[in-house]
Symmetry: C2
Subunit: 396 residues, 2 copies
């Protein structure tokens, strides 16, 4: 196991009707005037925003509103949020929405007290030392931003999608009401679930030996997802299934399952190009890329066979073939693909609406130059990335 | 799943040589003058205290020392620590030791800013609103106090052992260096491990339905313990095994594996009487009580059969007997007893040095009056408690 530090100081208020505590929690964490940040009108129509406002009113906390956050949140709205917050002397950012809204909120919170351009953080020029406090009312189990130290923003002028990680951006509090996710369409539910599972896989596939505790914790989250996601797809109002998924989504990404080990986030990067080019849901893109990445490593590179066999046995209940571990590893990948299909996720280019002829563009956008590799469980070069896209083309 | 809140704001610095960061961390969390609190001379002899002091010196942080914490920490030393801290204008308590030292530190930290008797908190008269910050340098994986919101203190005058839980007592930081645990005798290593496993069982056995995520997380910690503890017993210098156990010990007790469900802490209470009467290690007492509690519930009460079968299958790898789940449940308990014996733990009264004739005293000390029951997974009355002690007498 490697040395690490772990710091997850977010206060989680979990359960039905907990959005009514928003005002109380803003007050507890020092907020007196709030930027209420959200995305689509659905939070207005559903009445959620009204309930959050009532809760703020009850505690005499003032607020200004800024809606309109899009999936893959844009720097343009972040600049707007920073300006508005300064003008209105906001001292707390309250995100009402999913990962995009929370990420946009984190960026605004970093930008307000900073004299330069907030993009300095996302372009790795400067490390932030200060931020406004952020709270969240989560509406979808997926990104894990409600408990994480990271956020991703897209720079509109260059179409660059950059992430920034810093423990100071972890939310002060997050309100997780699983009921709020019952109205999500099944496609979004499934895509969110795959995002959660990907956050675990990205930590699980590691060359760091002897990491049994985090291995088992990773598998725990995955096992629960495999059990609960089909329930939520079958019966959208299954609040218990929604609750299990929602808590798993936090645990998957606050890094408690990933400490002390090298991680591999290459699949995330390979997917990012798909969602950039086709504007598909991140989770759907991951459903196509992850099995392809796995298949390529096991079938073509014969790399990490025993680790893929381990997950096949421990997650998918495959019987270990002791004389042919590769077969076990491949059976596990088959189980994953069947699971993805069963919850309505695409597993190849055609099902996602991606095109073979775009592969050179995708590879170029991924951005590796000749002889360059990107590290992780398996170091990929540009040819590997191309091969993984090609594998995704052919998966059925 | 039940509504819950979860708040674990401790900063964990994990890995080899991390005690050298003590000074830096005290400074980061606002300490300028420290009460350095510890137990036996072993932390002096091993050089650990010297390294911590050097780290404080480096940051120009003053300190006063108070050693002498005993297992089952006493109120008398807590009063001494409060007086000393006030006199010396200490603003930070740094615990160097195991659960007892950390618990004593938490109690001192609560007492310093409070005008009344600190025992008011532990006798549930008053809820604390203020505390000095506490940091820890952990020397044994067991109690989980390094990440928990609870502490247990013994009132010497009445021999009363009371616990107090409050999120404000969670340490600001905890330094977890698994190397420090390599010198522990195997008995202490095993007893600590059983304390960790008990913290999970006490959360696992629950009547709350549909708690798959926390069920799986509980099983993850237990699976890792079953894998890693024998390694640490066989080879005390296996730092990776020590590291896995140490992280598992924190995860087991900061409540991330126990949220959203009723819990059952009766076994803890039944054991407390054993350690009070015989001065045995808490973990060794738990090794005797837990299989007895399980056996009594399954064999005599036929209660919770499917949950015991679940842990038999998922933790111990027992094949499910679908026509006789009780048999599966009992096989799981047998596996647990074999595991305990294999790591040198007692599993019955004789092996622990407890006596049949003391059972009436133990039952009386447990303190249930007629018709009273104590809640949890299975509600126990005084006769049940007696029966569990009697079961522990007979286990082999």
């Amino acid at each position: 196991m490697l040395n690490f530090n772990f710091y997850s100081p977010t206060y989680f208020e979990f359960g039905t009707d907990t959005e009514s505590k928003a005002g109380e929690l803003v007050k507890r964490f020092g907020g007196t005037k709030v930027l209420l940040h959200y995305g689509k009108n659905s939070v207005i129509k559903s009445g959620l925003l009204g309930r959050v406002k009532a809760s703020l009113d009850k505690e005499n906390i003032g607020y200004v509103e800024l809606g309109g956050v899009q999936p893959n949140p844009r720097d343009t709205l972040v600049y707007e949020g920073i300006e508005l917050s300064r003008k209105e002397k906001v001292d707390f950012i309250l995100a009402v929405g999913g990962g995009s809204v929370i990420d946009s909120s984190k960026a605004i919170a970093l930008g307000v007290p900073y004299s330069g351009d907030f993009w300095d953080f996302y372009s790795y020029k400067v490390d932030a030392t200060e931020t406004l406090p952020v709270g969240t009312v989560l509406t979808i189990a997926a990104a894990g931003s409600e408990g994480s130290e990271s956020s991703v923003i897209t720079r509109t002028s260059t179409d660059t999608k950059n992430g920034y990680s810093n423990d100071i951006t972890r939310p002060k509090f997050s309100i997780l009401n699983p009921q709020l996710t019952c109205t999500l369409p099944s496609y979004q539910t499934a895509a969110g679930a795959i995002d959660i599972m990907a956050h675990v896989f990205e930590r699980y596939f590691s060359n760091t030996p002897n990491v049994e505790t985090t291995d088992r914790l990773c598998e725990a989250v995955l096992l629960s997802m495999v059990s609960e996601v089909p329930k939520a797809i079958k019966n959208p109002d299954d609040v218990d299934a929604r609750a299990n998924i929602m808590w798993a989504g936090m645990v998957a990404h606050n890094n408690i399952v990933g400490v002390g080990r090298e991680q591999d986030w290459n699949s995330h990067g390979i997917e990012h190009q798909l969602s950039a080019v086709y504007d598909v849901a991140h989770g759907a893109g991951l459903a196509v890329i992850f099995p392809a990445w796995m298949t390529y490593l096991v079938k073509e590179k014969e790399y990490g066979i025993m680790r893929f066999a381990q997950i096949a046995v421990r997650l998918w209940g495959v019987q270990m073939n002791f004389s042919n571990p590769k077969e076990t590893a491949l059976k596990g990948i088959e189980c994953f693909k069947q699971f993805l299909s069963s919850i309505g996720m695409p597993i190849n280019f055609e099902q996602l609406g991606a095109k073979a002829e775009d592969i050179p563009l995708l590879v170029k956008k991924f951005g590796l130059v000749e002889n360059e590799t990107t590290g992780g469980f398996y170091n990929l070069n540009s040819k590997d990335v191309e091969n993984i896209y090609n594998t995704a083309l052919l998966l059925f």
